[in-house]
Amino acid sequence: MQLPVVRRTVTASAAVGLVSTATVVVQAVALAHLLAGAMPGAHPGDRLTAFVALGAAAAVRGLAALVGETLAHLGATKAKADLRAQLVGAALARAPSGDAGGPGDLATVAGRGLDALDVYIGRCLPDLVLAVVAPLALAVAVGVLDWISGVIVVTAIVLFPVFGALVGRASLALAGNRWRQVEGLGRHITDVFEGLPILRAFDRTAEQRRRIETAGEALREASLSTLRTAFLSALVLDTLASVSVALLAVPLGLRLLNGTVGLPAALAVLIVAPEVFLPLRRASAEFHESTEGLAALGQAMALIGPGDPSGVGRAPRGERRLREIPDPVRVPVELRAVRFEVTGRHDPILDGADLTIAPGETVVVVGPNGTGKSTVAALLLGFVQPSRGAVTVGGVDLADLDPASWRERVTYLPERPALLGRTLAENLRLADPEASEEALVAALVAAGAPDLAGDLPSGLATRLGAGGRPVSSGELQRIALARTLLRRGSLYVLDEPTVHLDAATEATVVTGLRRVLEGRSAFIVTHRPAVADLADRVVRLSGGRFVPAELLAPNGTAGTSPEPAAAGAGAGQ
C-alpha cells in the first residue's frame, strides 16, 4: 500500500498504546494494594499513595486516549483522501479509453467503499498493532508479578492469533463473497430503479417490488449464514479470552490456599487479565469489519491499477515523447492498416483500416451504428491505441507524440457530450479558458443556441446539470457545439455533431461549422445529410475498413474527389 500516512498512524498508535498499557498496570497494582489491605488481618498500607497513583493513571490514560484516537482518525481521513484522489485521477486517465467502469461504480468505491477504511485504518489497524504490543507488555508485567501466571498469559496470547488466523482466514473468504453479493443485489436494485419510469408506464412496479423483496430476503438469508461462520471467529476468541481469565483465577486461588503466591500479586494479575485480551478481542471483532475495508481497498487498488493505458496522465517511464507536434493543417493524418479489437466482441472493430485525412480536408464517415466510427475518433484523439497498424501525423506515429500536446491541436466533440455541474460559462470555457464573454455568446449563437445565454435566469452564470438547471439533450448538444466552435484546432474530430437538433438549428450549426472548418482538417461522423454536405470526401466503414461512399448528395457536392483537399493542402503550406 503506497500510503505512508498509514504507517505513521500505526506507529503513533502503538506508542500511545504502550503508554496506556503502562497505566493499566499501575492502576491494577494500586487497586490490588487497596483491596489486599482490606483483608482480615492485613495492614491497610499507604492508601493515599494508591489513590494518587489511580488518579495519575486515569489522567495519563485519558490523555493517551485523546492523542491516540485523534491521530488515528486523522490518519484514516488522510489515507482516504489520498486514495480518493488517486482513484479519480486513475479513472479520469482511463475514462477516454472506455475501461474505467461506470461512474456509479467509481462513486460507490470512492464514497461508501472507502468509508469502510475509516474503521480499518482509524480503528482496526491501530488496534491490531495494540493487539500485538499491549498483550506482550502486559504479559511481562504479569510475569513480574507472578511468573506462573505470566506463562499462562503468554500461552494464551500465542494461541490467540493462531486461532484467529485459522478462523479468520475462512471468514475473510466468506466476507469477500458477501461483499460481492451485496454488490450484486445493489446493482440489481439500481437497475430496477433506473428502469422505474418504464416499469411504471407498463404498470409492472408491483412485480419488480416483489423481485426486490425476494432478492432482499435471499440476501438476508445468505448474509446470516455467512455471519454464522464469520462470527465463529469472534466466538472462539471471546471464549478463549474469558477462559484464560478463568485459567488464571483458578490456579491463583489454589496457590493462594497453599501460600505460594501473595494476594496483592494475585489480585493485580486478575485485574490486568481482562485487559490483556481486550485489544485482541477488539481487533478480532473489528476483523469482520476490516474485511469490508480491505475488500474496498482491494477494489480501489484494482481501479487505480498499475498502468495508464491511454498515456493521459504521465508518459510511460523511460520513454521520451515528442513535444514538437506536426500540424495537421500542413501534414496528413493517416490510419495505416489499423486493427482494433475489444474484448467481448468476436470480430475486430477495425481490421486493416486505411484512411488519409489530407491537410485541410474534411472527411465524413457514414454507416450504421456499431461499425467502429466512434472508435476511429478515439484513435485519432489517442484515447486508445490500435492493436496493429498505426495512426500517424505527418508520418510520425501518434504513440510517439506527447498525448497532451497532440490534443492541444485537436478539437473534439464526443458522441455523447456531457456537462460539468457548473455554470454555463465554465462549461464553455472548458474548450478555451481564456474566452471572453462575448466570444462565449458568439459561440452559442453560432451553435444555434442564441436564446440559451439570454433566457437563462443568470445568463452565462447559470449553474447547469446536477444540482442546477436541467438541460435537455438538444441544449446539451448545442452547448457542446459551442465548445467546439470556441476552440481553434488544426484537426476537428466531431462525432455526430447535430444529433438531437431540429432542422433549423442544424442548418445554423452547419453554417458555423463550415466557417471554422475552412482550411482545417476534419473527421466527422454523422448520419445527417446536412452535415455530410460539409464533406470533401465521404467514406463508410464496412467490415472494419474504410470504403468510399456515394450517398447523401442533395446538392451534388459529396463525392470521392480529392480536389478540395488539395486546395486545402495548398493553403496550408
Binding site: A91, L92, R220, R407
Partner: protein, 585 residues
Amino acid sequence: MTPASGRGGGSGAGGAVRVGSMRSLGLAPRRLTRASVSGTIGAASGIGLLATSGWLITRAAGRPPVFVLSVAIGLVQAFAVARGIARYFERLGVHDVSLDLLGRLRLRLFDTLEPLVPGGLGPTGSGEVLSGFVSDAEIIAKAFAKRVTTAIDLVASIVLGTAVALVVEPGVGVVLLAGAVAMTVVALVAARLGRAGAEREAAARAELADSVIDTMRVARELVAFGREDLVTARLAEIRRRSNSGAARRAFATGIGRAGATFTATAALAAVVATGIAAHDAGHVSGVMLAVEVFVALAVYDQCAVLPLVLADSAAGRSAAHRLWALGALPAPVVEPDLDAGPPDGAAEIAFDGVRVTHDGTVALDELSLRLPPGKRVALVGRSASGKTSALYALLHFVPCAAGRASIGGVDVARITRAGIARHIGWVDDVTHVFATNLGDNLRIADTEATEASCVAALAAVGLAAWFASLPEGLSTRLGAGGRPMSAGERQRLGLARALLAGGDTLALDEPTAHIDPTSSADVLDELVGATGSKTVLVISHEPGLDRLVDEIVTLEGGRVVDRQATRRDPAAGRPPGAAGCSSDH
C-alpha cells in the same frame, strides 16, 4: 376490465407507506427479544466471571478448605464459556434484526420513489442518485445493528452490575451507578461535539460522489481539452473541507474516549473509596469489597465502548437525513384506486386546454388536440418547447394544472396506471435495458407474451437480424453484465416493448433520437407499418414525418404555433425487415 388488480404495494392513493423515520419501520419484536436475551446473558456472564474470580482469589487468601472454593471454580469456568456463546448469539440476533429492517427499508424506498419517477424527482433523478438512496438504506441498517448491540450490552451490564453492587452494599451500588451514568453522559456529550464535524465531512463526501460522477461523465472532454486540472482543483477543495470536518470529528472522538477512559478510572477509584469506607465502618467484608470492585471493572469496561460506537453512528444519521427528506417530497400525481377508464380497444385521445407547470414555470399551455382512433400526430418543436410535458400529461406522470388529458373521454387522472398502460404504450428517448434476459425485458410490456409474439415484435422494429445473431435467443442476458447493445438496438427494443404492450395508442418520445439516422426513418416507417390502425402520438425530428402522420403540431415555448394537416402516404408503412436499406432522402 380489471381495476388495478394484482397490484401489491403500488402507488395508489391509500397504498404505500413512504420512508419517513426509523420508528415507523418497526422492528421484529421476537428477533429483538432473542438478541436482547442473549446479550443480557452475555453481560451477566461477564460480570459473573470477574466477580466470581475476585471472590475466589480473595476468599482463597483466607485459606479456607478447598471445597469452599470448588463451586466458585466451577462457576468461573461456566461463566467463561457462557459469555462467549451468549455474545455469539447476540451478534447473530442483532444482525438478523437489522437485515430484516434493511429489507423493509428498501421496499419503503421503492414505494417512495415509484410515484416520483419520472417527473417528480427533478434533475436529481439519475440512476446514481437512486442507487445512493439504496446504499443509504444499507448504512442505516448497519449503524442500527451497532447501536442496538451496544445498547443491549450497556443497559444489561449497568442494570445487572448495579443490582449486584446494591445487594452487597447499597452505598457502593449507588456510586457504581453514578459512575456508569457519568461515563454515558460524557460519551453522549462528546458525540454531540463531533456531530457538526461529521456533518461537514458527510456533505463533503456527498459532493465528492457528485463530483466523481460529474467528472467521469465529462472525462472525455476534460482529457481532450487538456483540462484535467479542473478536477484536481475541485478534489483539493473538497478534500480541504472534508479534512476540517474530519479533524473536528477526530478531536471530538478523542475527547470522548479520553473523557470516558478518565471517568472510568475516576469512577473506579470512587467505588473503591466508598467500598473501603464501608469496609472500615464494618458494613462489608474484604472479600465482598473485592467483588464490588470487580463488578465495577466489568461494568465500566462495557461503558468504555460507547464513545466509539457513537462516533461511528454519524454516517447512519446523515444517511437517514437523506432518506427521510426523500419521503417528504410530494408525489406529482395521485393515482386513483378505481379505474374509470374506457374499455379496452381503440379510444379517442384528447388534450383539452392542457397546461403543465414545472417548478412554477409553465412548460406547456393551452394544448388542445384530438386523436380519434387511428390518427397519427407528430409533435415537433425545439428542445424544451413542451413536447415531453404533453406526453407526460397524457401518461399521467405529471398533473394538468389546467385543462385535461383524456382517453376515451375519461380524464387520465381517473384512470389507474394499469388502465393507462392498457391503452398507451410509451417509448422514452433512452430505453432502459434491464440486466436480465431479452425475453424478460420484452415481457415487461406483457407478462404473458409468447415467444412467437416477442420475436414478431423484434422483427417489427428491425431487430430480426440482431435476434438471429443471438446464440441464446430470448434467453440472452442484456444490460449491465450482459450482452452490450448499441443505442439503436436499445431503442428498437424499447419500440418492440411498446408494440408488445398491445395498447391501441403509442406515445413515442423521440424514439429514433439515438438510432442511426440512415435507418431511423426506416424504423419509424416500420413502426408505422407495425402499428397498422393504432393511434400514434410521436415526438420526432425525422424527415419525412409528413408521409407518416396525419397532422404535425409545432410547439414553441409551451404553445402551439403551427398545425399542419398532412397527407399520409398509405404505402409509407414498410414490411418488417426492410431496415438497413440506405436512406433515400
